[in-house]
Amino acid sequence: MTSRATPSRFLRSVLQNGVGRYVCQLKRISIVFSKNAQSSLGLRDFIEEGVVDYAKKNPGTVVYVSPQSCRIPKIVAEYLNGNVREEIVTNKTSPQISELLTKLTTQSGLDIIRIRKPFHTDNPSIQGQWHPFTNRPPSIGPIRVQKQDTQ
């Protein structure tokens, strides 16, 4: 796993989200589960109790609930920048699934790859970036070879 071979990105927020209004980056959540299988038991409990509250708390996110005959229950999250994230929730309990949903809601849709630096500034220098003339204004004069008097 070399850093050149694996993709990486810089830390950023999507269009300075949060500086003004905060826009939830999660566009759509599709819950795929089966009505009778044992693996989607926790998911069915979550749909009975928690899904409506979740949908009311996040009015900007559309929640689709689709019962199908499938072996593995999934939650598919789509973000405003087009990224799609699938989470497999077999044998998870209802509180675990609601924790997972809050994690997906608070994520921006950016790729989950190595972040090069844990910080980012648009204005790194306030007093002015150093350049060779910051401490050496031209009024001093050019640098001359020091003539030694002993010679």
Partner: protein
């Protein structure tokens, strides 16, 4: 006559060779020459690359520290001080900034770095006065180290 032994000699090899090969070649795609395409050449080079990556994690810390020290030394020489004098006097004045922060200040905030250099210079002069003087003079302002509890 029915020939049955011929079909017993056919081997079923694994079905996944393509994907296993691609998993290794994806780490070699940015190499130069045939080692980014041919599996047997890529295996050796990718393993070497991983070994270099493991060793470099320690080297990166060392190299970054020497870079910071070089930058702080150059910046302090612009203000007439040398690196060891600057760092020693800053620690004596209980300025607990590490080399990374001081080098960033030297690059992006030159006036703050100038004030740090002047602070270190003043503390140095106070140290000389204490060492070379009589002991009758009061200790200097910057030598009073405040211990916050």
């Amino acid at each position: 006559m029915v020939f049955l032994t011929l079909s017993c000699w056919i081997r079923n090899r694994g079905p996944d060779r393509y994907w296993k090969v691609q998993e290794l070649l994806k780490h070699a795609r940015h190499f130069r020459g045939r080692k980014n395409r041919c599996y047997s050449l890529a295996v050796r080079t990718v393993r070497k690359a991983f070994v270099y990556a493991t060793k470099a994690r320690k080297l990166k810390k060392r190299n970054m520290r020497t870079l910071w020290i070089t930058r702080i030394a150059a910046a302090s020489r612009e203000h007439g001080m040398k690196y060891p004098a600057l760092m020693h006097n800053l620690t004596k004045s209980s300025v607990q900034l590490n080399r990374r922060v001081i080098s960033d200040l030297a690059v992006t905030e030159p006036r703050s770095f100038l004030s740090l250099a002047k602070l270190a210079q003043a503390r140095k002069q106070e140290g000389f006065r204490v060492a070379l003087g009589d002991g009758k003079e009061p200790p200097g302002v910057f030598s009073r180290v405040v211990l916050l509890q």
